[in-house]
């Protein structure tokens, strides 16, 4: 699908790449149906809380150094401020740099919803520019501004000359999409629209764009890429506007999570010819090797990469083999964003753990370039199948599944989800850190973490004995797809 950077509105994942949030069946069926184009998502007549795409969108942007985020909406929408505060005050310090990024809420009230507040917003933008002299300004909408039809695009255009730094409207109406990951695309779109510049003439570089969340493995990855004469540019945590303006010059773009990096990677490729590394991701052994080899192929560095792979294999594979014996045959249920679910499923399979059910918080039928996500393709090609469903974090479905299958472990990348598994007495592994399963070393650590979690269940078992979950017995007896219905 062509990327259109002339409009500040970006189509949702549902409309752009046919993403769905409702499906219950098997992995094979899900993949076959998406390949032949017959997959239709379902909606739910009953649902529990989902998540706002603004947290993903503004969370990404507020990690950029020295910018201003203006969230035009009622006070409640400004909760992203807490995360923004952390991203701009703590994350830079961890790396030894500074950021003066600020997050401003406009505290829209009832009067504003009736009479509009475009004038007030204009003043807010100018005041923010004066107070903080940010390097760029992102002006976000909310559900309320969206419904009353506040024209933030026009205001941004009107003040553009006066503020004198890049300024862009970011459309974060929460009701726009069931898929909070649309927020990642919205952030990318804003960066591509106003910050990224065309490559400068004659610039030679060994840089590779690395889209990730918190650059928590930064030193380690810089060290690794040195072996291949590559210099990673981590996006967007602690990025500067200057750095971002030149990402069109890099040798390639890769990412830690396909859901996170897909839009930026494809857009940079389509618009500036920067190759986007499309492979299964770095989780586990096969993933890590496939990913490195693809980088080697794209950037012409296959030789040093093969050498690195052989060296590392010698160190880690025997250790991983050893721990595998203790994990063989254990069962797992997992619930994550699709950028991780089908990757982590592959790793669990590598470690000898049987996935009995995998939930993806949403599912992209195809990526921006029209392909089925590589992680799915890998599982299919290797004849790995299990029950699978797509649910935007629907906790009651997770609990129904855990109750029925009583797995040895539940893995999730969302802390709120592990809470309920633990109350159910299921050992839960919170795959919090994006690099938790990265490469050989972290795959080994991951295996050890799983072993720790399932070997000592004191807290889970003691807590579950004394806790009563809110769900009715009736619900536990129903099929998981009880509340799914065809989208009308």
């Amino acid at each position: 699908m062509p990327i259109n950077l002339s409009n500040s509105n970006i189509a949702t994942r549902e409309n752009r790449i046919g993403s769905i949030t409702g499906y219950v069946g098997t992995l094979k069926d899900l993949a076959t149906q998406s390949e032949c184009g017959t997959l239709k998502g379902c909606s739910r007549c009953f649902s529990q809380s989902s998540t706002c795409l603004s947290s993903c969108g503004l969370g990404q942007l507020s990690a950029i150094r020295d910018v201003a985020i203006i969230h035009h909406g009622p006070a409640g929408c400004s909760v992203a401020a807490a995360g923004a505060y952390y991203m701009s005050r703590v994350m830079p310090k961890k790396r030894g740099v500074t950021s003066s990024t600020i997050y401003v809420g406009t505290d829209m009230n009832e009067n504003d919803t009736i009479f509009g507040s475009t004038n007030a917003l204009r003043n807010v933008i100018l005041e923010v520019n004066k107070r903080y002299s940010p390097k760029a300004i992102f002006v976000s909408s909310s559900c309320a501004t969206g419904i009353i039809g506040e024209d933030i695009d026009s205001i941004v255009d009107e003040v553009r000359d006066e503020v004198g730094v890049p300024i862009v409207a970011v459309h974060c109406e929460g009701f726009k999409s069931r898929i909070w990951a649309t927020g990642f695309d919205i952030a990318d779109h804003a960066v591509l629209q106003e910050i990224v510049q065309p490559p400068r003439e004659g610039v030679k570089t060994n840089k590779i764009n690395f889209k990730n969340f918190f650059e928590s493995a930064r030193p380690e990855i810089i060290e690794m890429f040195k072996n291949f004469d590559l210099d990673p540019v981590f996006l967007y945590c602690n990025s500067t506007i200057e750095e971002l303006s030149h990402i069109s010059e890099s040798l390639a773009t890769t990412c830690i999570c396909g859901t996170l990096g897909n839009y930026l990677g494809n857009a940079l490729e389509e618009k500036y010819g920067v190759p986007y590394v499309r492979s299964i991701n770095q989780c586990g052994i096969v993933g890590f090797e496939t990913w490195l080899r693809e980088i080697g192929r794209v950037t012409g560095r296959s030789e040093p990469i093969e050498k690195y792979i052989q060296e590392q294999r010698a160190i880690y594979l025997p250790q991983i083999e050893e721990i595998k014996n203790q994990l063989e045959g254990k069962t797992a249920v997992l619930g994550m964003g699709p950028g991780y679910t089908f990757e982590v499923s592959r790793v669990l399979n590598e470690l000898g753990i049987k996935v009995v059910w995998a939930l993806a918080w949403h599912y992209d039928k195809k990526y921006e370039n029209g392909d089925v996500p590589p992680s799915m393709k890998y599982l299919l090609d290797n004849d790995i199948d299990f029950e699978a469903s797509v649910a935007d974090q629907q906790n009651f479905e997770v609990m129904n599944i855990l109750h029925k299958y009583q797995p040895d472990m539940y893995l999730s990348r969302h802390p709120g989800s592990t809470v309920w598994a633990i109350k159910n007495g299921t050992p839960a592994i919170y795959v919090a850190d994006e690099y938790m399963i990265f490469g050989y070393k972290h795959t080994l650590e991951f295996a050890k973490t799983i072993l720790d979690a399932i070997n000592n269940r004191s807290f889970e078992e003691n807590l579950a004995k004394r806790s009563k979950l809110p769900y009715t017995d009736w619900w536990y007896q129903q099929n998981v797809d009880k509340f799914l219905e065809e989208i009308k």
């Binding site: 529990q48 409640g76 505060y85 009230n109 929460g174 069931r178 509340f483």
Partner: protein, 429 residues
């Protein structure tokens, strides 16, 4: 009106409503809102007040209609109807409350009618039609109680002269809420009273229904809960005693105990005996660690209730010098500001501090940065740590938003809480 607020604290009215409902045992909120409101409201209050979240249902387990464009255009009442039915089917709750987000509020979905369809079938379910944009989480606290007063609390419940209701401490917003309520409960129980905290001891909707039996409402807050208090009195004949700020330490807590004693005509000897006993307990400990803490000139940045409590304890009980107090929650009524100023200024021992009402972090930081008098201790929220570091002043994380401490039953309130507060000043948490 739209203005510039750097790093805003707290949530919308929906967040306050959700916080209160989450603290009542076996009560299930149902959101009629966009897909993000549940997580946003949970994150904005519970998520930033010491990392506790509701035991029964919270965040990902709260039913929500997750309104999308289709509902915005065609209305969302059908989706709400099936969401309510699903909630009743799968969540085993004693009562359900239907809440509205901005989206439902602006498009004008009639949630009361839909809710009523279920109420007519005998389901205990109530609508709260207050969309997010109408105010902040403080207003949410009052909104829930107004709903209870209008629709839940029963009339003609036999009076119980030993029963009191406690108000003014917002659960999952004030980081110390449960510890504070437990300390109040402990002290008042010693006077032979039965205490409705509503949010501890597993209290539930039945306790709320029967709260009209109380002999007294005790409001521990300088400004909150005026409307509901008046309604309690006019509709159910329950009078109110306002304690105009949290009590921390022996002086103010004893004053609190005496005012409750007088209001309920309790046996004076008993009241004085309890006070003497509690004060002895506190001073026995304080006397064992004299000179352990160095003397401080302090600033407090907190909501009104805690700002009053912290300032008065440190200045009036512990000989520290108050320099600057910033009330960092929005206070709109001038008479409320006056009450707060009076409570903070009216000190027996110390010279009153400078008092400011600021919610914008930029202005808070400027005020601390530009303060000419020396400040060696700052009690504030997570957002204030940075300016404390810049000032090279000791910092105690004691106010909302609080993202770097886990708080179960810790409190700085009352007799025992003041000891914890003093310990923390030494430990420099």
């Amino acid at each position: 009106m739209s203005n510039v607020t750097e790093f805003p604290k707290g949530g919308c009215v929906l967040a306050g409503i959700n916080s209160v409902l989450g603290a009542i045992n076996r009560v299930c909120p149902i959101y009629h809102s966009g897909p993000g409101c549940c997580m946003q409201t949970t994150a904005s209050d519970a998520g930033q007040s010491g990392h506790k979240s509701s035991c029964f249902v919270s965040a990902v387990s709260i039913p929500s209609s997750n309104m999308l464009e289709k509902e915005v255009v065609f209305g969302g009442t059908n989706k709400l109807r099936t969401t309510i039915q699903g909630a009743i089917d799968i969540i085993d709750a004693d009562a359900y409350f239907v809440l509205t987000g901005c989206t439902a509020g602006i498009i004008g979905d009639d949630i009361a009618s839909v809710t009523n369809e279920f109420a007519e079938k005998g389901i205990e379910i109530y609508p709260i039609e207050t969309p997010g944009f109408t105010g902040d989480s403080n207003l949410g606290y009052e909104t829930v109680w107004n709903t209870f007063l209008d629709k839940v609390i029963e009339k003609d419940v036999p009076k119980d002269e030993k029963l009191v209701n406690i108000f003014g401490i917002i659960p999952y917003h004030d980081p110390f809420w449960s510890g504070t309520l437990e300390e109040i409960d402990r002290i008042l129980s010693r006077l032979g009273l039965r205490v409705n905290t509503f949010f501890t001891k597993g209290q539930g909707i039945e306790d709320i229904k029967k709260s009209s039996a109380a002999a007294l409402n005790i409001i521990v807050n300088p400004w909150l809960f005026k409307g509901p208090a008046a309604k309690y009195e006019s509709k159910f004949g329950v009078p109110s005693l306002r304690i105009p700020g949290l009590f921390v330490g022996a002086t103010d807590t004893s004053k609190f105990v005496r005012s409750v004693g007088e209001a309920l005509h309790l046996d004076k000897d008993l009241v004085e005996k309890v006070i003497a006993d509690e004060e002895k307990y506190v001073y026995n400990y304080l006397g064992q660690a004299i000179g352990v803490l160095s003397w401080k000139r302090f600033a407090v940045i907190a909501d009104a209730n805690n700002a009053v409590g912290f300032t008065r304890y440190l200045a009036n009980d512990y000989s520290f010098t108050p320099v600057l107090v910033i009330v960092s929650e929005p206070i709109f009524r001038p008479e409320d500001k006056e009450t707060i100023i009076k409570e903070i200024s009216d000190l027996e021992y110390a010279k009153p501090p400078k008092i400011l009402f600021l919610t914008d972090q930029y202005e808070i930081n400027s005020a601390i940065r530009e303060e000419e008098e020396e400040i060696t201790l700052i009690v504030g929220s997570s957002n204030d740590r940075e300016i404390a570091l810049e000032k090279d002043s000791q910092f105690i994380l004691g106010a909302f938003p609080m993202s770097e401490r886990l708080i179960f039953n810790r409190t700085y309130a009352g007799y025992r809480g003041s000891l914890t507060f003093t310990e923390d000043i030494y430990d420099n948490n």
